[in-house]
């Protein structure tokens, strides 16, 4: 499909979107501004309100309170067929009684596009999703991945300025999913369409999005660029849901520079970290450390300024080889244990179960959360 000349995706703004079902609040005051042509992801576990939010944008659910704006115009009260938004469903919803061609032509026929135009644009859309030659097939003759592409071509063929996607890759196997993630991203860049994407798969969210909103219990817990969310989670929930984290409970001993605090863990281990929120001496906190940020210290004189780093020593309780890396479970005695992920690189001897392992990591990569926040 020819990248629409001069046309870019619409700006979408959600203003205090709220949806209640009886006493249950499914979505609570979600406000987001999604810039034109960007890839925005709503990420969260099931029941977090992400799909309900998307359905309110699509028009399949009406908000109890709040507004949806597309390019500044309120569409909150419009039925879905008047919103001109493309949508790809988790179940694909490719019409089983229509051929691939007729499926993709459907939105154009509804819009009374001239026959020759339909043929050309369907051809372009199928080319975009690399299904040229499949025109006459019926959906039941297609694999899940191919049906997915038909659904995508169908949602794009009428050049909507916003594309909504509800866990579109959920039913595909891992390899195909990874492949489709990149392809989706390319298509989105090529067409400059604004995408609102819903998923519970954090890897998917990180790979494709310009911005991600992590949802929890109907609210946006944190919003930002993928790297920002991963490197600087604002809460224990985000640190846990997005990627993987070790958590150590402790108490703040005192400040160590701007935003930096010294913490003594319950078991006595002392470590420095960055406060995700403002903290105070004596406060109960949880420190979060990513498994891959923990580095085994091979050499006592490691060349680094050891004093500036956090460090600890433990016994390897478990070593699991996972191909590209080895995952260790390192017991720290009273402080529990740490999961450590070490890339399997040439020259890096792998530790065995029972070995003692010294670990160092940067205070910058230690996030501190007030403990009652979760």
């Amino acid at each position: 499909m020819a990248p629409a000349e001069g046309i870019t995706g619409a700006e979408v703004r959600l203003h205090e979107l709220t949806k209640t079902f009886g006493p249950v609040v499914a979505v609570e005051k979600v406000s987001v501004s999604i810039p034109s042509g960007s890839f925005f992801t709503l990420l969260g576990p099931s029941g977090s309100g992400k799909t309900t939010t998307l359905m309110m944008v699509a028009g399949f659910a009406y908000p109890t309170h709040g507004q949806v704006f597309v390019d500044g115009g309120a569409v909150t009260q419009l039925p879905p067929q008047k919103r001109d938004l493309g949508m790809v469903f988790q179940s694909y919803a490719v019409f089983p009684h229509l051929s691939v061609f007729d499926n993709v032509a459907f939105p154009l026929e509804i819009r009374k596009t001239a026959r020759p135009d339909i043929r050309r644009r369907v051809g372009e859309a199928l080319e975009l999703v690399r299904l040229t030659g499949y025109e006459r097939r019926l959906p039941r003759q297609l694999s899940g991945g191919e049906q997915q592409r038909v659904a995508l071509a169908r949602a794009l063929v009428f050049r909507p300025r916003v594309l909504l996607m509800d866990e579109p890759l959920g039913a595909l196997d891992k390899k195909l999913r990874t492949h489709m993630q990149l392809e989706l991203k390319h298509i989105q860049r090529q067409l400059h369409v604004t995408v609102i994407y819903v998923t519970h798969d954090q890897e998917e969210a990180l790979t494709m999005s310009d911005r991600v909103a992590v949802m929890r219990r109907g609210r946006i817990e944190q919003m930002g660029e993928p790297a920002e969310l991963y490197e600087a989670p604002a809460s224990r929930f985000v640190a846990d849901f997005l990627g993987e984290s070790n958590f150590i409970d402790g108490v703040v001993i005192g400040p160590r520079g701007p935003g930096r605090w010294l913490v003594r863990a319950t078991g006595g281990l002392e470590l420095q970290g960055v406060g995700a929120v403002s903290l105070a001496t004596g406060q109960a906190v949880t420190a979060a450390i990513r498994p891959e940020k923990l580095v085994p210290r091979v050499d006592e004189a490691g060349g680094r300024d050891a004093g500036a780093l956090n460090s600890c020593t433990g016994r390897v309780e478990e070593a699991i080889y996972v191909g590209d890396a080895t995952r260790y479970r390192v017991g720290l005695g009273p402080d529990g244990g740490l999961t450590v992920k070490v890339p399997n690189r040439l020259g890096l001897a792998r530790a065995r179960e029972g070995d003692r392992l010294a670990l160092v990591w940067s205070p910058e990569e230690t996030r501190l959360f007030a403990r009652d926040d979760s």
């Binding site: 879905p80 067929q81 938004l85 493309g86 469903f89 179940s91 919803a93 019409f95 089983p96 459907f106």
Partner: protein, 298 residues
């Protein structure tokens, strides 16, 4: 990975053996029903066919069938049977499809209530229901009283003992079959398809016309065939609610058996009805298989 899977799964031979064991078990379970059917249904049926082609002292002959072909009144009755069946089918479809659609789109709890109303007539004898209609439709029946009272008609209109009466009675009895068949197909239609149509710009009517209706076609085909086939052999309702010109083939057979005692000829008529019905069933079967093809893959 594939090795691990092979080790965990039973081998193909294991599966085949298991399938065979299951097949034997199912056959044993089916045996009693099969025997009953053979003794009480298939054997007499063969006797019926035999009687229709055998004339005492003459031997095997197709005379009875030739007679059906030669005498215009028999062909007329067969033709009328088909016409009334077709009309009943159309009426049932016109009334049943919207009702089935309503059922399929109502909230489950309300749908269950409506469903009970639809199936309720099955709990009453068909004769009782037919007599009830006769009370309603008679010259002094509730309907005529109402029409006269409203001033819509000057004098009571004949609603009974004519083709109109037959159509009303038969449609009433057969409507649930139509509703249930269409409804079962409609309920299998993923509402996601209609939602997708809306997201692609289709209005309610367009989504219905282009997506829901085509997907419900197997139900329409199945329902119409079922009602049509059942209509062909209908007896009680046309016998009670129709007039002399509304004789259908089943009534003709009864007359041959009861009054003229021409059992051989009655058998020939019965075989003709059976063959026509079987042709209908063959069509029905093909449609039902179509339905499986249409089913969306999850």
């Amino acid at each position: 990975m594939s090795e691990a899977r092979a080790a965990a799964d039973p081998t193909a031979d294991d599966l085949l053996a298991r399938e065979r064991r299951d097949a034997v078990r199912y056959l044993l379970l089916l045996l009693p029903a099969l025997l009953v059917l053979l003794a009480l249904f298939v054997y007499p049926l063969l006797g019926l066919v035999d009687r229709s082609v055998y004339r005492p002292r003459v031997g095997y002959t197709l005379d009875y069938y030739v007679q059906v072909w030669r005498v215009p009144v028999y062909l007329h009755v067969i033709w009328r049977t088909f016409r009334i069946s077709a009309l009943v089918t159309i009426i049932c479809l016109a009334l049943g499809y919207p009702l089935a659609y309503l059922l399929a789109t109502l909230r489950p709890r309300v749908a269950r209530l409506v469903m009970i109303v639809v199936v309720l007539p099955f709990f009453t004898s068909i004769i009782v229901r037919t007599y009830a209609w006769m009370v309603l439709l008679g010259m002094n029946g509730v309907v005529n009283q109402g029409l006269t009272w409203l001033g819509l008609v000057a004098a009571p209109v004949p609603l009974l003992y004519n083709q109109g009466g037959v159509l009303i009675g038969m449609s009433y009895v057969l409507l649930p079959y139509m509703i249930l068949t269409v409804y079962s197909v409609m309920r299998g239609i993923d509402p996601g398809f209609v939602r997708a149509a809306h997201s692609l710009g289709a209005s309610r009517w367009q989504a219905f016309r282009r997506v829901f209706l085509p997907l419900s076609l197997p139900g329409i085909a199945g329902g119409t065939l079922l009602v049509f086939i059942l209509s062909l052999g209908f007896f009680i309702t046309p016998a009670l609610m129709g007039g002399p010109p509304d004789v259908m083939i089943a009534m003709l057979i009864e007359r041959e058996v009861e009054f003229t005692l021409n059992w051989a000829f009655a058998s020939a008529l019965a075989v003709i009805l059976l063959v026509l019905t079987l042709i209908g069933f063959a069509g029905y079967n093909r449609i039902v298989r179509l339905e499986r093809i249409f089913e969306a893959r999850a």
